[in-house]
């Protein structure tokens, strides 16, 4: 770290003829920005808390282990926990080290799919997926709905054009037709 920054300083002072007299000061400030708040060294396996403070994951892990009952940010004392830190991945950082060497493992990043616009509006049932429940208590459909939807949040709508999307469209149509036939049968019977 120190050697690379001094190289930079030398090259700029030679090349630009002293354009930036504060280079050394700037370098030091920039280094400080990426220092772990616990070991005060450049952060390794960096993670950042939701309150925005940077740590090495091994350092923060040890801090959380030291006081399992009072997990607070070492800088600002905001609530903090293993699940509420975000790892920072620099370019190429994942290849540098075998992750198995990193004990304890750094928590994984959380990735949320972007909201996708859905194209399914053909049958006037509102939103994309088919969602219908029958209050009549007919055996097969009540069975389906309670078995497949029980206690689970509805999954995200897959992106348009993917095989999964096509499949779901198809299933929706099958169930819709089954429902229509069932209603027709009820009316006729």
């Amino acid at each position: 770290m120190a050697s690379s920054s001094s190289e930079v300083k030398e090259s700029t002072s030679r090349g630009d003829g002293g354009d930036r007299p504060n280079t050394k000061e700037d370098d030091r400030k920039e280094d400080n920005l990426l220092e772990c708040n616990i070991c005060l060294d450049t952060a390794k396996d960096a993670v950042v808390s939701l309150c925005g403070h940077l740590f090495c994951w091994p350092c923060l892990h040890q801090w959380l282990e030291t006081r399992p009952n009072r997990q607070v940010c070492p800088v600002c004392k905001a609530a903090i926990s293993r699940d509420k830190v975000v790892p920072l991945y620099g370019r190429g950082s994942t290849q540098q080290q075998d992750p198995r060497e990193k004990v304890p493992p750094r928590p994984a990043g959380q990735r949320t799919e972007p909201e996708s616009g859905n194209g399914f509006s053909g049958f006037g049932f509102g939103d994309g997926g088919f969602h219908m429940s029958f209050g009549i208590g007919a055996f097969p459909f009540g069975f389906f709905t309670s078995t497949f939807n029980f206690g689970e949040p509805r999954p995200n709508v897959p992106a348009q054009g993917t095989p999964q999307y096509m499949e779901e469209q198809f299933l929706s149509k099958v169930f819709l037709w089954l429902a229509l036939i069932f209603i027709a049968w009820l009316l006729l019977a």
């Binding site: 708040n37 801090w63 070492p74």
Partner: protein, 199 residues
Amino acid sequence: MANIAAQRIKREFKEVIKSEEVAKCAIKLELVDNNYTELRGEIAGPPETAYEGGNFVLEIKVPETYPFNPPKVRFITKIWHPNISSVTGAICLDILKDQWAAAMTLRTVLLSLQALLSAAEPDDPQDAVVARQYKDNLEMFKLTAKHWTNAYAGGPSINTECDDKIKRLVDMGIEEHQARVALSSYNWDLERATEQLFS
């Protein structure tokens, strides 16, 4: 783990040496041994307090688990303060106990101690005698704290009345510090202090 502790103290030490508080002579830090496990701190008494003009020396012991656990700090210089033991120099300060956070440094600890000198917490005392005096008779407390600052920390304010009373007890064969403690504890009432010393 001891490695993290030494590594960090090394960095902190450099940081303190360069800090503006050292330039202003408000705090000082010295190494006692070469393993970075024991240091000697010094803080200036804050202005406009009874401790103004005094220099207070602290013993700082860095545990192996630093910075995950706080350093052990106590006053070596004798001081009259509700949150500091007048006998042992032990300090009652939350950040040196359960409120410690790993991002705190020796510099922030020294500055917090300086702040403690300007803002005592008599409701959470370390020295019950001092705390009682602080709550019952603030003027008497200030006079006593100033006298101790002069006697032990090189403070400028000399109180001849206190010195005379101590001298009378010393003439009776009492050790000077013991005489000062007795008089301080009894609001400089010579009779009661004598009574306690000879009972």
